[in-house]
Subunit: 201 residues, 2 copies
């Protein structure tokens, strides 16, 4: 596989995060620790969002009872791997993130009321910026030498009710996390070429 | 600033992508080349999305006439920096991304019709997965040793009409790109603590 020498990021890091990392469908039994998740969070928390909003919430599903409740909400094709991964994390957006802006955006605390007084606007912002944070989190999992298996096939209303229940959170993704196991992935699918994606005006 | 030694990613890469990189508001005059943008794309294209969909489209705004048309659509607080950055990229989602699934997801080409026959479903998927790709692209800019200045303050309908005009694309972000200039950023705002974001069940 060719390297990318125009970049400043070193080749090992390019491979770890992008070129050799893959979405895993099977995992070994090796546990994933809270210390690893904290290291991931304490790195990716610095990546940018609009108005420094931080809607992402992470629920680590560790008990057998919670795992069973989550598997129940997953699409059939995702149940087996969600049931057996070393760790499963629910990534959700807190639609009331704006309450934190006065402390998280100290140079512009009035953003809370100027831009986010309407629930519909907040939900759109939490979805977009929460999705940015989901992408950063997935790369953070890879930065920890682990494989991520992000999934969007689930009953979202069911997960929101089972795991939040306050009407204020919207699940964005469920991510299996661990060391890749046997036959962990499909052959890599193609990507669009540069000229199919990038145009100049 | 403390390093994060639980991670496999080396400290220089952690700093380059997350800890020392900042959202830039001013830039030097140094140009950003097409070769750099291609290097960024050819790295971040490998990051994961649902069903390997690739809704992200990038418009590099290089001509003075196009730059003026874009500045017109930006919020007042974003006009000056959008007008003077070495390069400005419009990042949008192609809501007709599903047409590419038969070639981009060769092991499951029927996903196109099974999941994405309804425009509303496609738009939601293009928004979420496009946002993931926006996050990856921002980190890719940093991987190239450049600073990104992502913005969401603009007239979205105006940009969609001016730069796409086919009713099939939705702008997600506009990103200034270059080497950081004088007084390029605000002091870093706080981030939520691990315990405010991560819970265990």
């Amino acid at each position: 596989m060719t390297t990318n020498e125009t970049l400043v990021l070193d080749t090992a890091a390019q491979d770890l995060l992008f070129r050799e990392a893959r979405t895993a469908n099977t995992f070994t039994d090796e546990p994933v620790t809270d210390e690893q998740i904290q290291a991931i969070y304490d790195l990716v928390k610095y990546a940018p969002t609009a108005f420094n909003q931080q809607p992402l919430r992470v629920v680590l599903v560790r008990s057998a009872e919670s795992r069973a409740r989550l598997v129940e909400q997953m699409a059939d094709g995702n149940k087996a791997k969600t049931g057996t991964a070393p760790l499963v994390a629910i990534l959700a957006a807190d639609n009331e993130f704006h309450e934190e802006l006065p402390t998280q955006l100290p140079h512009f605390p009035q953003a809370k009321d100027m831009f986010f007084s309407e629930r519909e606007v907040r939900e759109g912002s939490a979805l977009f910026n929460g999705a940015l944070q989901v992408g950063y989190f997935i790369l953070g999992v890879r930065a920890a030498g682990l494989a991520a298996g992000p999934m969007t096939g689930f009953d979202a209303a069911g997960i929101n009710k089972e795991f939040f229940g306050d009407g204020e959170h919207s699940v964005l993704a469920v991510v299996n996390i661990g060391k890749p196991g046997d036959d962990a992935w499909f052959p890599r699918s193609p990507r669009l070429a540069y000229d199919e994606v990038v145009t100049t005006v």
